[in-house]
Symmetry: C2
Subunit: 345 residues, 2 copies
């Protein structure tokens, strides 16, 4: 079995341990955030970790009411700007803890007065050393170049932190059910593997979601690009309507990630607009109405709350990518021209 598939399947067990693994560190960080009266959180990352950062931003704003944003690393690493970072928490995410620009941004922002934290799978890494606080993926060694378990476990660490900051145990309680929802979703693999055959010659596609699952669309598209060499473009359903929809034409593959929740209605409207254009509409959802309209559907059986759906729906994207890459004759563990650690400044 390939590393990628093996690692996809490890995710429920890793998520089951994520709160235990990070509880104490997250509480200490949450205390510091309150003590320093932090009014702004910046997340800095690249690649899959940047997609985890996107979800973190939604969590901190929705659950904790703290304005949050993704860093533009070049502001510090290229231009050497000095930002006013008092009352700012900067969180660097890198599975290897080696991403040079992330490390440099964290170091620069700490010097400028920010409280800093790392999320990494490598406790001894440079990133963990540079940061005031560290949370860990606790995911074991990841052998596949395409990150899967370090993505969901980085998300898990963000949920744990958001929960500790919130003070209540609601998020932590909900998180406990996620491993079972993940297991339920992994049972769709046979269906997904059969469907993947149809995309043997797919060269481009759109992956569309909204709100919390914007991160899921971005991560699914990145996996497709990395392992299937598919020109996959992720969009928020709202941004998509402001221009890019013009590109969609008859037969063009559009993957729509539409879990139950507050973003669902926008996605149902987007589905109708895309069907008018006679695209190939692949819907990933639980709700049967939208699935029945799709060209092809992947029904996610898990009755997961919207807030946790990014942890569950991304598994469909991972499995789909894996099986499409296989169908195309590629080795998903060794994408051409990529290595496990990419160093950029």
């Amino acid at each position: 079995m390939s590393y990628m598939l093996e690692e996809i399947r490890q995710q429920p067990d890793i998520l089951a341990e994520i709160a235990v693994c990070n509880g104490k560190a997250a509480r200490a960080l949450a205390n510091d955030i309150r003590k320093r009266d932090i009014c702004h959180i910046v997340l800095v990352a690249r690649g899959a970790s940047d997609n985890a950062a996107t979800l973190g931003r939604y969590l901190f704003e929705l659950v904790n009411g703290i304005p949050s944003s993704l860093a533009a690393p070049s502001i510090i690493t290229l231009y050497g700007a000095r930002l006013r970072f008092d009352r700012t928490l900067v969180i660097g995410i890198s599975q290897s803890g080696k991403a040079t620009d992330v490390v440099e941004y964290l170091r620069g922002s700490r010097e400028a007065g920010a409280l800093t934290a790392a999320i990494t799978n490598e406790p001894d890494s440079e990133l963990a050393k540079v940061a005031d606080h560290s949370l860990f993926c606790c995911a074991g060694v990841e052998r596949s170049v395409a990150a899967t378990k370090t993505y969901t476990s980085a998300l898990g660490a963000l949920y744990v932190l958001s929960s500790e900051l919130d003070g209540g145990g609601e998020i932590l309680e909900g998180l406990k059910k996620v491993p079972d929802f993940m297991r339920e979703t992994l049972t769709c693999e046979d269906h997904i593997a059969a469907l993947a055959q149809r995309y043997r010659y797919m060269e481009d596609c759109f992956v569309i979601a909204r709100g919390l699952n914007h991160a899921t669309a971005a991560e699914t598209a990145l996996k497709m690009a990395e392992t299937g060499y598919i020109g996959a473009k992720p969009y928020s359903a709202a941004d998509f309507m402001h221009g890019p929809i013009a590109v969609a034409h008859e037969g063009f593959p559009c993957f729509l990630i539409a879990p139950d929740g507050k973003a669902f209605d926008t996605l149902a409207q987007t589905a109708d607009k895309l069907l008018d254009k006679k695209v190939e509409l692949v819907v990933i959802a639980r709700e049967r109405g939208i699935l029945s309209k799709a060209t092809k559907g992947i029904r996610v059986p898990a009755a997961v709350q919207e807030i946790f759906s990014p942890l569950v729906y991304v598994l469909v994207g991972q499995l789909l990518t894996y099986h499409v890459a296989l169908a195309k004759g590629y080795d998903p563990d060794r994408p051409r021209g990529l290595s496990k650690v990419t160093l950029t400044r």
Copy 2:
């Protein structure tokens, strides 16, 4: 002549007036920002205005040292979150001033205690009414669905605000030279029109830049999607190396926007990596070394400082898009399935 081309050509004259048009309002806003001790700026927009917001974020961080970010509108419009927005400035950008989600986000953030500002081409619009302060594009009526002059004039308004906040006149002085740099760049049109023939059958491409011109790449790609129905994907050169480069293959069209400045070296390295992959590399630059390596080059004669280059280099993207759309037999003024004002929540 099409509206789009006419409006592209109006841009130097509009930029020449942007400081006069906004000086007083920008000073008043800058005073309020200081009085309220603003420590965080959020920009909210869709489509081309969102690309203007991206540049605004770089300006406020680089020139003013104020951590800035792009809003995820759904946080307020879908999920109804209440963010802690004391000491936060929220700037909504919409040429029509009608973008419902931008208006709603501004209203919600004002209720949550934020200082608010609008940048719009329509002084009587809903957006201007909702905001505490307003800056204007002063661009005249824009008839083409694809925004060109309202994009650069929104940028212009952001430069004026950043300059007033900075207190010094350095940015304003530099801005005065921009109209001439724009005129110089518009002289490349014949060369660009001839080159555009080569992309008559281009269906997909990458548009790559870094740092300040990340906005230029995003705006060029959006224009190509809207008017040429090209699946154009914008990337920061750094993000591109973390995965998407795997998709690039022999002959795949990659547009590289590489003005002189601190981001140049990263782009030169990206160029070399792409040439190894034998892509079709189209370089838009002033530096002759990188141009000589490219499959095709567009030399921008303007010796513009990096900080102002987004105002100048985007003209090449606009002209290229316009002429590729013509070569493909499309009417750039009336893209299929798009209207001038897109309403999303």
